[in-house]
Amino acid sequence: MIRSPVRRDVVIALVLFLLMLAVPLLTGTRYVLTQLTVFFIWAVVASQWNLVLGVAGIFSLAQMALFAVGAYATAMLAYYIGLMLPAAMLLAALVTVGVSLVIGFACLRLKGPYVALLTLAIGQVMYLLVVNDTACFTTPASGCLPLFGGARGFSRFGDLGFRDLFGSKWYVGHYYTGLVLLLAAQLFCIAIIHGPLGLVFRGLRDNPGLALARGVSRMRYQLWVFGLSAFFTGLAGAFHAAHFGVVGPTAFAFAMLLFILAMIVVGGLGTTWGPLIGAALLMWADEGLREVSDWREIGIGLVLAGCVILFPKGLAGIRFRFSQGRGQKPDAPPAPPPHTSPV
């Protein structure tokens, strides 16, 4: 009945959305809802990073730095200018797009894994500049505050206003905000992946020579995917800042970057639903491993290496892999979509 992959994915997204809508009505515990809110944030980051990394094949590790830019821009706009948080978040997302285009222009001339290390180095420099900045920009009551917050970061820059609206149940408001953010980001991903832009991105990934020969400008389209995915990444960072009410240099932490990267790789690079599956699985596993926190790093390393080696297509690709292994053709090949995608 549902033949086109676009319709299939949109239907899945909407069904999941409706199911998640009901969660606060069924289980009101704050723990579950805040945990899911954080999941929404990481799922958005993972799905947007997947657009760059998996769909377009650009090996960028700048995504967490962009996430941090979104968070910092929100905090700074709200703290220094006194902007309302929703407005600050939107503006911060646009700032993130601008920053991503600058980074993209510098890095996309390189190729493959060399993009990875330069983007990683740029994130590192941003971290060092924030942490090593000790000159006072303003001096609020609590003491000295550098321009970028220094090692302490920002706090008390306002909230989303759900505390006034729902009182002690404010986290339900955050839950729904996160859910809407994830739905918007996922619909955006589906539109890109199945749309004409997705075709161009995959073309540049799979056979850059042929794509160039057909007149596709590599730089231009890679900048496109860089900037587009930065919007929701910045927005996720902004929402992270609003949800927790603090922004600090931990946003640049390499461990966090690896955690999100592991989500994408475990779920399936370049697939539509892989990053979400990976995010759910890894966050669940991480919660379970909390009691043996000493082994967390080793666990993530093992999962990361093991999944790349054993399941090249990620968990989302396993079914496909097995059916191929038995010598059958899968009944509905996931790619490629028709040339005239109705998006």
Binding site: F59, A106, A121, E297, V303
Partner: protein, 259 residues
């Protein structure tokens, strides 16, 4: 291939050397050899566990990069669990120095300089002159064509990983003798080494040596003029400017893409 576990191998070498001298009481040359052997074995294990199953598969470059990130993370965590998080001093170290006019030159720095130069000459000579070096260069230029010409690429990858593991361990000893031992001490040198390779143009050993020297000097000058905290940032901006000007690196040749 890009090996992101290189930083972990650096730390491994440093810690093994310290452990061999402190816990086992071995003399310094033996400790250095032990560290290099450990690095080589770790490199060999990376080949067996990650590179061999993936070779010839789709997206090798991307997948090996992610897999070695995971392996490096495990290696560093294992070192952390074994030796603890406190910074430690490297035991393998020369004391004293020589006065050249007004300048005190520690023997340690002389040793590092001589060792580094020796290793560079050996690696460059091996790559440019020997049969093995030719096979390595052929594999890096075009893996498929090299294999068709009878180059045993699996053995080449194994050799290269073991060799780079041993060299990383040796560099780890030298770096830790100046700055001390920490489980994550390899991250910064690895990032810098990579930047140097990209700026020089990949696969060019003399160019990389020259660039490393130039970047080191430049960093020292920037630190002196602007302050330590801005050195890496300014350096990176310069690097980005260079790469926009010459994406193939200063000493690299423009790549011709064939379909």
């Amino acid at each position: 291939m890009l090996n992101m576990a290189q930083g972990g191998l650096l730390a491994l070498g440093g810690y093994i050397a310290m452990w061999a001298m402190q816990a086992m009481g071995w003399p310094a040359p033996l400790a250095a050899l032990a560290a290099m052997a450990a690095g080589a074995i770790a490199g060999g294990l990376i080949f067996v566990a990650a590179a061999r199953p993936m070779l010839g598969g789709e997206g090798f470059e991307t997948r090996i990069f992610i897999a070695t990130i995971g392996i490096g993370l495990m290696l560093e965590s294992a070192i952390l669990k074994t030796f603890g998080p406190q910074p430690q001093a490297q035991s393998l170290k020369l004391e004293g120095g020589i006065m050249l006019g007004q300048v005190n030159l520690p023997w340690q720095n002389v040793l590092i300089f001589v060792t580094a130069l020796l290793m560079l000459v050996l690696v460059a000579g091996m790559l440019n002159r020997s049969r093995l070096g030719r096979a390595i260069r052929a594999t890096s230029m075009n893996r498929d064509a090299a294999q068709l010409m009878g180059v045993p690429i699996r053995r080449i990858y194994l050799t290269i990983l073991m060799l780079s593991g041993a060299l990383a361990a040796l560099s780890g000893i030298m770096i830790s003798s100046m700055s001390g031992l920490l489980p994550n001490m390899g991250a910064d040198p690895m990032l810098k080494a990579f930047i140097i390779c990209v700026v020089a143009g990949l696969g060019n050993v003399p160019g990389a040596a020259l660039t490393a020297f130039a970047i080191g000097m430049l960093e020292a000058v920037i630190q002196y003029i602007f302050g330590v905290q801005y050195a890496f940032a300014i350096l990176l901006c310069l690097v980005i400017a260079v790469l926009i000007w010459r994406p193939q690196g200063v000493f690299g040749h423009k790549e011709v893409v064939r379909l």
